[in-house]
């Protein structure tokens, strides 16, 4: 079940495609759009 609007976004740190760590909570002060897709190179 996907989490819903109104709650605090779960924090994470992940490597970007440039291999730099990105921490969600460090982006506070700016809006963020997260988009999940199944796999790269799979169309769409």
């Amino acid at each position: 079940m996907a989490i819903e609007a109104g709650i605090s976004a779960p924090d994470f740190t992940l490597a970007s495609h440039e291999n730099e760590p990105i921490t969600l909570s460090e982006l506070r002060g700016n809006p963020v759009v997260l988009a999940f897709h199944p796999l790269s190179f799979t169309g769409g």
Binding site: M1, A2, I3, E4, A5, G6, I7, S8, A9, P10, D11, F12, L14, A15, S16, H17, E18, N19, I22, L24, S25, R28, G29, N30, P31, V32, V33, L34, A35, F36, H37, P38, L39, S40, F41, G44
Partner: protein, 83 residues
């Protein structure tokens, strides 16, 4: 983001002529962030196609999942993000 490794993400970014946003690798432990957001597909071992708009204080403003064949509308998501 996806469960691909950063190397795979890098190749994907380059194949698309360079991108202006970050592609994140939810690779190890695989799909951990997808699981935290409740959109991990255990059967296939990948994230379900979905989007989350987060406001500047860290609250989720908008959460959507997309059935196969349907894609997010980036302009609409950016509109929501900008308020």
């Amino acid at each position: 983001m996806s469960v691909d490794s950063f190397a795979s993400q890098k190749a994907f970014a380059e194949a698309n002529g360079g991108i202006s946003f970050k592609l994140l690798a939810d690779f190890h432990p695989k799909g951990a962030v997808a699981q935290a957001y409740g959109i991990y597909n255990e059967d296939r071992g990948v994230a379900g196609r979905s989007s989350f708009v987060i406001d500047s204080s860290g609250l989720i403003l908008d959460a959507r999942t997309y059935p196969p064949g349907e894609l997010p509308d980036p302009q609409e998501l950016l509109r929501i993000a900008k308020g």
